[in-house]
Symmetry: C2
Subunit: 557 residues, 2 copies
Amino acid sequence: MFKTNNMKKSILQIVRASYEPKVPKIMKRVIEIQEGNPTESVSDQEEIKKLFPNTYGLPIIQFVEGTEKKQRPPTNVGVILSGGQAPGGHNVIAGLFDGIKNMNPDSRLYGFLMGPVGLIEHKYKELTADIINEYRNVGGFDIIGSGRTKLDTEEQFNKGLKVLKKLNVSALVIIGGDDSNTNACILAEYYKRINANVQVIGCPKTIDGDLKNGIIETSFGFDTACKVYSEMIGNIQRDCNSSRKYWHFIKLMGRSASHIALECALQVQPNICIISEEIEAKNQSLDDIIQYIANIVAQRASNGDNFGTVLVPEGLVEFIPTMKNLISELNEYLAHNETEFKCIKHSKQRKHILDNLSHENAKIYESLPETIARQLTLDRDPHGNVQVSLIETEKLLAEMVKKRLEKMTSEGKYIGRFSTITHFFGYEGRCAAPSNYDADYCYSLGYTAAELIGNGKTGYMSLVRNTTAPVSEWIIGGIPITMMMNMERRHGKIKPVIQKALVKLDGMPFRAFASQRDQWAINTDYVYPGPIQYFGPSEICDQPSKTLQIEKSNTDY
Amino acid sequence: MFKTNNMKKSILQIVRASYEPKVPKIMKRVIEIQEGNPTESVSDQEEIKKLFPNTYGLPIIQFVEGTEKKQRPPTNVGVILSGGQAPGGHNVIAGLFDGIKNMNPDSRLYGFLMGPVGLIEHKYKELTADIINEYRNVGGFDIIGSGRTKLDTEEQFNKGLKVLKKLNVSALVIIGGDDSNTNACILAEYYKRINANVQVIGCPKTIDGDLKNGIIETSFGFDTACKVYSEMIGNIQRDCNSSRKYWHFIKLMGRSASHIALECALQVQPNICIISEEIEAKNQSLDDIIQYIANIVAQRASNGDNFGTVLVPEGLVEFIPTMKNLISELNEYLAHNETEFKCIKHSKQRKHILDNLSHENAKIYESLPETIARQLTLDRDPHGNVQVSLIETEKLLAEMVKKRLEKMTSEGKYIGRFSTITHFFGYEGRCAAPSNYDADYCYSLGYTAAELIGNGKTGYMSLVRNTTAPVSEWIIGGIPITMMMNMERRHGKIKPVIQKALVKLDGMPFRAFASQRDQWAINTDYVYPGPIQYFGPSEICDQPSKTLQIEKSNTDY
């Protein structure tokens, strides 16, 4: 397990290994800590404060140029990769390694294996320079593996503490998404409370792009993953525009938010892109979405263009209020009647469901293609819930639009050919080698985490800002995790959690998209971004995501 | 249609447009034609000779350094893109354009729209320098579009001749696969026979890589498409190796031959890659394949590795002798009982098929997952045949292996978790921007086609050789198309056709794969090639495919 030797490498890997991430100029100087004013959580201040008495209200931190290099003792640090992979994870670890070695060459780094479970079960390995060097600037989380175990009980915390003490580790860095960082904060609070003398620092990871706010500009991996998906979609669009005979329905990873779909749309200018948050805000039904797509298909057909592209966010069905109701009733019903349902003959199950749903939901269920309807009742997780990620939303839309067009044909509203091809892109982008942006951003995040540790901080997330400027101008520091929290119902309980960043309909990235989409729908304005480049001119290799560029520019749409 | 103005371009497109394809040094000098000895077709010499009295037996041509630049009159040339897209098509046209302009600046180039149908229906546009410059080094066939109309009747030839005469076009370049080049040769023969004074030149295009022989090293597009697929597979493998919990079944485009799957396997070192030609040669059944995969899954599981990758060529089921028999009986049966079958209730169709198939085929049909079995009976082309490209072979294998593992578990032969994710890559690679190799190769192919035209040749395919050497050393010339032909049964008729190049089991690329696959199966030896690079060091940007490199090296496996 975790072989690091004798890996055969591609030529690109070998050459790319020697890339030195560009760093903020402050990282080359003597660094001093500058603390801002006390902070408040985004809402529910009283409750959050009560739950986090030791880590609430901390100031935002910025590292600035100092005068005197501080001597620091050797520090042993642990690191955990938590949750789904994101490009750049290895560079966070490399930056962290270089950061703690810079503080004191005798510092050591331990990686816990396969996610938080490694901490709980005391599975780890020391990450030495030779191992770190094998993983600089490459994709994946395979240096130590990742996992989805939730680190959220005191029993786990205490178990973990044992191995931390054994290894003399005084700080733990958790690289994860909103959930993992929430748990990092709970852990920080707990270790502080019991005087465990272990600091906990988080790093904002997720390709989904939903871990950001007024202070954190983006989560790492989003840039690279979107560029890989956009490369593929661009290639498909060029194909589409050459053979002029298919509609491609392309589902994109990202269940909780539509940032990936939006970013890809801004990069490739598809004919159609559905944004879940808009569907929910406008209370649109599945039928509304089908009609919206069918109308564009019909209008393009009337121009002789029987082809096009539709981008669909993975989590769409959960944002359609009526579908949410249907799924919720199905979950409820099947949870209580599981055994009964399982004994019903396959061919009778559909009727059985229809007979037992409320009238309104039965109507929606009946309108779904049979294969999709079956996915809603058969593929369930251990808690009996529909596994939304297994629903082939791209096929659902393609099939239902086809049916709608047949109806429109019979009404004289559509003349054309409608052939579809469906795609789902997710696993293709999560482990790509990081773009220069992510390689640089991640390295700085890791290095900054080391600085936070050196300064005795806990309950912070590593912070790198101003990233649309040249790297030398980037600003590094830390943000208290409690500042991002609010109270939310999750799995039936009210909990303190980091607020997820959804696509804002009054935000400039969405408005930039919305102001152009009617044009893109009818014209064929495809853009072909091509593959990520590592060696070319800076305007090709170093650009951040369109989303970030638009957010940071002052253009109004 | 075919807007070329106001396209919004990605930055990469803009910068890449100025790439000047590297060219063989001979192309910068005064060129003279050198003709070899008369040639013979690969087999069926008597029949081919009889069918092609005017274009049979022509010599292979090589262009060599000459002494005196020849004055040539302006020549109007037509060009057609035929069949599926392949990266580099635009560069063939750019090379052709520069080639005929080099002969005489008053030469003109006309593109026929949407494939051969443009010639037949007189739809064309003149390709001027400003248009050509918009399409240099970019993917797609969208400069004039492509199509699959077969150009094979004298009526079509005569219709086409009218527009050629109207435009004063004396040479036609057909960029296509084996079928299109076969038809190019038939057209060349016909125009020669009726003294139409129109030359016809072919260019070897297909991502499938099955148009090659002892003289043609590769078809264009193969290199780029395989690199794109390998990028994706590499990313998936890195993901697979990080989360360690999925088996990915990845189907790759390429119906007639497994070159793409083989090339990708050589690039990424997957755990399993099925080669159709081997299955056929060894007369293996679907059951054999399932058992082969299941055994590897079980062996990896015994090492704690419940993850892996399986590459599957698109055309696999047609190469499994027993499946071929089943499909053939289904085709036969459904062709004769179409109406009857359609009237049978959906839920009774399966039983009906089982009752009407021969015992042996019924047994195989029954063993298939229901969804796949349904695909075999429902999705039929206008001729009533199974649409093999719609069969989800990747899901078929994943489901059947799962079942087999359940059986093995009950027999105590397997302990492990088996979760699968399926992918199909095809449209993602056909229109990618060409790699340097394809950009250079295609430009030379087009330029060489112009030279063949200038030298009055017809019935030739443009030929660029020695392409594993630096571009300056590449050799250019022409190969008579009749030389590649044999007589084969296609769609029930014996016809003269270009022999398809299948994967040779005694060829070095397959042997290189076969000598390592048992290692790759058990070890996790994944290689991550990363995205195509255009600006880096030559060893990253300019390498030809592994297949070609192995074929050209003298290494024995």
